[in-house]
Amino acid sequence: MFACADPQSLEKFDWLVCYLTSGKHVLFYQSFGVVLLLLAITAPVSLAFGFLGASAARSQITPLRWFGKGYTAIVRGVPDIAFFMFFVIALDQFFEYLRHKVKCPDWDLPIRQGSDFIVCAQAKLPLSTAPQWQHETYGFSLAVLTFAIVFGAFAANVLFGAMRSVPHAQLETAEAYGFSRRQTFWRIVVPQMWIYALPGLSNLWMILIKATPLLFLLGVEDIVYWARELGAAKQARFSDYPHGDWRLYYFAALLAFYLLLTRISEIVFARITRRLSHGQATAAGEKQRKAAA
């Protein structure tokens, strides 16, 4: 390899290689991993939240039902941006407040002083002495939790609808065979609801992919943040690689990334749909049955 110490003296190709491997670009490449990791964790957690929310919403226990319905109604109704701007700070303060109560029972100063939120140093999350990666991991976990709560509410609504779409005659049959409510739910409803939930869930997945730039509001530096930072015009005084406004190229690269990701998702969803349609009392399931016969 050649040295990147003095980029001004390099030829076009060498300059580009040095430029694209600068420390800042490495951070940019890593942020793709962060986004994919967020998607990989958030999707199953949201689905779990959604499942619990939907089950709660159809529960026979009234407070649980209110909780399930309230969760979906409130979270779906609040604009995402408000949720991501304020809820995360509130969540962080809530955790710190709990820790404060446990760790500093003798603390006599008020926790709220004007607009300040003051907990004892031991209750800070993470501790202010903690290395930066712990702060970043904590921030990332808060982001996952927030995304999961928001998308969980939408998923709950989709699953709630899907649970009701399972043909009613089947539930009556189950009852006639002496299934309990719980057995009907787990053996009839849950295995069959996915085919009805899939269109809604695939929509949610696409929206989740597109919502990842909200990460920056949560203090996690994502691909859009880095693309904007790297693409912005650089003056020779502040960078070894001065250049004009290159945001268009960086955003074009993001466009390609997002399109690739959504295309792969579409293919995967098409496969899952085909598999789940098998033996179902839906148009697609009926078609499969006739084709086989």
């Binding site: 800042k24 501790l127 005084r237």
Partner: protein
């Protein structure tokens, strides 16, 4: 869902018990050269980076740099995600109601309008931009005559200071003492002359 939140909270409660010496976390934006920006390695750099490190050394504090979006930079200070804001923030009355400022470490910088030399034909989306002159100067200088300063400079605020929580009097005193010492020994001046072309002390 409740269970999940509670177990996360329990996990959070258990992690990290030891109380070591205090670290001061410095929040900045990282997108406002020459005050603060990210260098080619993605590290915070600029006038405030060097000044902040000097202040920390002077006050014998362990410091850690953090970047945060400008729009949520004050909410994250008051809720304790970092301890100071050092981000080219002018001391204004509106901000002073929510947070406290140290003494200024940079004079009330004139803000200036820039616009394209032929802007007033009204075809562009914006005809002029108003921002700190020191931020605009390199942009105008490297625009090859496409951008020019327009109109008179405007003085906004009472200089640039370090933002601290109102309840953090002790830290504010420490920082003020350090800033005063660095002003007295000429460090602030040297840094201003290094980072801001055409600006001269004494400050």
């Amino acid at each position: 869902m409740r269970k999940l939140i509670l177990s996360t909270a329990a996990l959070a409660l258990m992690s990290g018990a030891a109380l070591a010496q205090e670290t001061v976390r410095l929040g900045t934006e990282g997108a406002y050269p020459p005050y603060n920006y990210l260098d080619d390695n993605g590290e915070v750099a600029g006038y405030e980076r060097e000044l902040g490190d000097a202040i920390c050394a002077q006050a014998e504090l362990t410091c850690e740099w953090v970047t945060n979006d400008w729009d949520s930079i004050i909410p994250n200070l008051v809720s304790g995600n970092y301890d100071v804001i050092i981000a080219g923030m002018s001391i204004t009355d509106e901000r002073d109601e929510v947070i406290d400022f140290t003494e200024a470490y940079f004079p009330a910088d004139p803000s200036a309008f820039i616009s394209t030399s032929d802007a007033f034909d009204g075809t562009g989306e914006a005809d002029a931009v108003l921002a700190d002159k020191a931020f605009l100067e390199p942009i105008v200088a490297e625009s090859g005559g496409e951008l020019v300063f327009a109109g008179e400079d405007v003085i906004l605020g009472d200089g640039i200071g370090i933002g601290v929580r109102e309840s953090d009097g002790e830290l504010k005193d420490k920082l003020n003492a350090a800033i005063a010492a660095l002003k007295a020994d000429g460090t602030v001046n040297t840094l201003i002359e290094k980072w801001f072309e055409g600006m001269e002390g004494p400050y």
